[in-house]
């Protein structure tokens, strides 16, 4: 897996040769224009989120009062209102539970499949890879009715397991291929020496290979956190008759349907649900972008 991120370091030779400041170098004028154009574009890009944060600490009547982002008085009560009376607290816990459950299951399924597909050849390997690849293009609208029926038949509608299993059961081809690619390039000696010591197939995987794949594990975890936090149709349909099992996306969507004019509480609720993913993304950006970029390279 190649690094996507290392753009900054120019080779030392070049640096020594060019002593001129960056704007006077070749293409410096172009870079200056790029910077000047992109700064306002990027600010507009994140303005909706800044606006949301600002609206979340304003009284409801003042949300649309102007374009300014800094409120004169801070109303943090919007957050406690949203947390309690809009049940955002419960939705938050539900979303957390679904995310943790899906991360654990997806980590197990993708790492084991990646290990086997990356290091061994066996009848049916191409078929499995082909099916997993094709399933990426499967629209959720096509599968959602049987999924609901299946979850009902398994008697999983009364708890969060139905959502967790349904989310884990979509094809995670990118993660599988990342694991496969990583395990493929590890040396054979690892297995050979472990086999000498009498370790079995599963033991070799869990004791030796899995701990070595930390970078891919990190990528898989963050991709799944964002996917679970983002998922909408499956929890919407599976919790239709059980409001107390709603996730944040579904809960806030239903809250908006019922309280269309409570803008400041809506903004606070949105901030509560968006900030964790944004913070996780900013902290683990490198792993996430590697995972996304992995989709194209495979």
């Amino acid at each position: 897996m190649t690094e996507v991120m290392t753009q900054q370091q120019a080779p030392p030779v070049q640096r020594a040769r060019r002593r001129r400041p960056w704007y006077a170098r070749q293409g410096g004028k172009r870079r200056l224009i790029t910077t000047v154009v992109l700064i306002p574009v990027c600010l507009i890009w994140i303005y909706p989120f800044l606006w949301m944060l600002s609206a979340s600490v304003k009284p409801n009547g003042k949300v649309f009062a102007g374009l300014g982002l800094f409120p004169t008085k801070w109303f943090f009560s919007n957050y406690s209102d949203a947390w309690k009376s809009a049940h955002i607290g419960r939705y938050f816990v539900n979303t957390l539970a679904v995310t943790v459950g899906a991360v654990i299951i997806v980590l197990i399924t993708t790492s084991t499949m990646g290990y086997v597909l990356g290091r061994f050849s066996f009848p049916g390997k191409k078929l499995i890879l082909g099916v997993l690849g094709a399933l990426v293009f499967l629209p959720q609208g096509y599968t959602i009715i049987p999924i609901l029926d299946l979850v009902t038949a398994l008697h999983l509608t009364g708890n969060l397991f139905g959502i967790i299993l349904a989310e884990s059961g979509t094809a995670h081809i990118i993660q599988v291929l990342l694991f496969a690619g990583y395990f493929r390039q590890l040396p054979n000696e690892l297995e050979e020496s472990a086999t000498m010591d009498g370790a079995g197939f599963f033991r070799i995987f869990f004791r030796i290979f899995l701990p070595l794949s930390k970078p891919v594990i990190a990528t898989t975890i963050i991709l799944q956190i964002i996917a679970s936090w983002n998922d909408f149709l499956i929890p919407l349909v599976l919790t239709a008759s059980q409001p107390n099992l709603r996730t944040l996306a579904v809960g806030i969507y239903s809250f908006q349907g019922a309280n269309a004019t409570n803008y400041s509480n809506m903004a606070a609720a949105s901030a509560i649900s968006l900030l964790p993913v944004i913070i996780i993304f900013l902290m683990l950006q490198r792993h996430f972008i590697e995972g996304i970029a992995g989709a194209v390279k495979q």
């Binding site: 399924t109 084991t112 499995i128 499967l138 959602i144 390279k297």
Partner: protein, 325 residues
């Protein structure tokens, strides 16, 4: 591809490759066992629904009563005469056809600008442009429905204060403007994803080629045409495929932004399926919705397969071109 069989000492070693199919499968039993959890889950929640949808589509079924009535192709026949179905179907593909090129072209331009080692702010720009992609789709759509609110939404306020418009526009409440506004917001939301794809592709081009071109006196524009464009062509096909198929599946985005309104004027295929299947308790038609889902699913798969075949052809052409050289 790899000498994996020799590694498989525990399950039979190199001899395994020569055995019969059944022998080889038995020797690889640990492989299958280890993949079982993943394969069972995918089978249950991805493969089974694909087939079950076909089965349901032949029934008249309201989802509440246990009774299902087999009605053959009647659901499909009804769909053909359903005006809402065809407009949702057409709208989904129109949305894909308009949003995909916008997204791809803008993101390519920005990726080329950001793929510049000397641009100090590039990582910051990239992060800021990428933030909407990681945010929860349904919630960012709700936030954007406030930002584009009809009367005092920030967009209307900004445009009015700059005297671009003199009275507020109801972007999302007007059947004529709702789809164009939605496409704008959609491009804002997902722009970062193809940008990262393009950047990943651009970084596979060795810097030495550009160095050599610069030595020969090639300017930036010339380098773009003669180096970047041909080397990005294989990436362009796969990026177009992923983006186009993804743009057909905009349920969370549209449902939270407009609910398909006003007057169903922004109802796309998956919203239609949802409304038919779960919309109001009294009119649930799961068999009918399954039939719509089957048609849509098959259409998406056909588009994907066509593009994959195009990709294959392109790749084999370029590699045979290399071989003859």
């Amino acid at each position: 591809m790899q000498p994996a069989m020799t590694r498989l000492t525990r399950t039979g070693g190199t001899r395994a490759a020569r055995g019969s199919l059944r022998q080889r499968m038995w020797q690889a039993r640990w492989c299958y066992l280890m993949m079982a959890p993943g394969l069972i889950l995918v089978g249950m929640f991805s493969c089974y629904p694909m087939i079950a949808s076909w089965y349901y589509s032949f029934f008249d079924w309201d989802g509440i009563s246990a009774q299902k009535y087999f009605i053959g192709w009647q659901n499909f026949r009804d769909l053909v005469h359903d005006h809402y179905f065809w407009s949702a179907f057409g709208r989904s593909f129109w949305f894909m056809a308009v949003a995909t090129p916008l997204e791809l072209i803008f993101s390519l331009v920005v990726a080329i600008l950001l793929n510049d080692r000397a641009l100090k702010m590039a990582p910051i720009f990239r992060t800021m442009l990428f933030v909407p992609v990681v945010t929860t789709t349904a919630i960012s759509s709700i936030v954007m429905s406030f930002v584009f609110a009809a009367f005092n939404g920030p967009v209307n306020q900004a445009l009015q204060s700059m005297h671009v418009i003199n009275k507020p526009i109801d972007y999302l409440g007007n059947p004529h403007s709702v789809m164009w506004t939605a496409i704008g917001i959609f491009v804002w939301k997902w722009f970062g994803q193809p940008m990262i794809y393009w950047l990943a592709g651009l970084q596979t081009i060795p810097q030495e080629i550009y160095e050599a071109a610069r030595m020969d006196g090639a300017r930036a524009w010339r380098q773009l045409i003669s180096i970047t464009a041909p080397m990005m062509a294989p990436f362009a096909v796969i990026i177009t495929l992923i983006t186009a198929v993804g743009n057909l599946q905009a349920f969370a985005f549209m449902q939270a932004l407009t609910n398909g309104g006003p007057f169903f004027s922004s109802e796309m295929m998956e919203l239609y399926i949802y409304r038919m299947a779960f919309g109001t308790a009294s009119t649930q038609r799961l068999g009918y919705a399954s039939a719509a889902g089957v048609i849509f699913g098959v259409a998406v798969m056909v588009i994907a397969v066509i593009q994959i075949l195009a990709l294959r052809r392109l790749r084999s052409n370029s590699s045979s071109g290399m071989a003859t050289r």
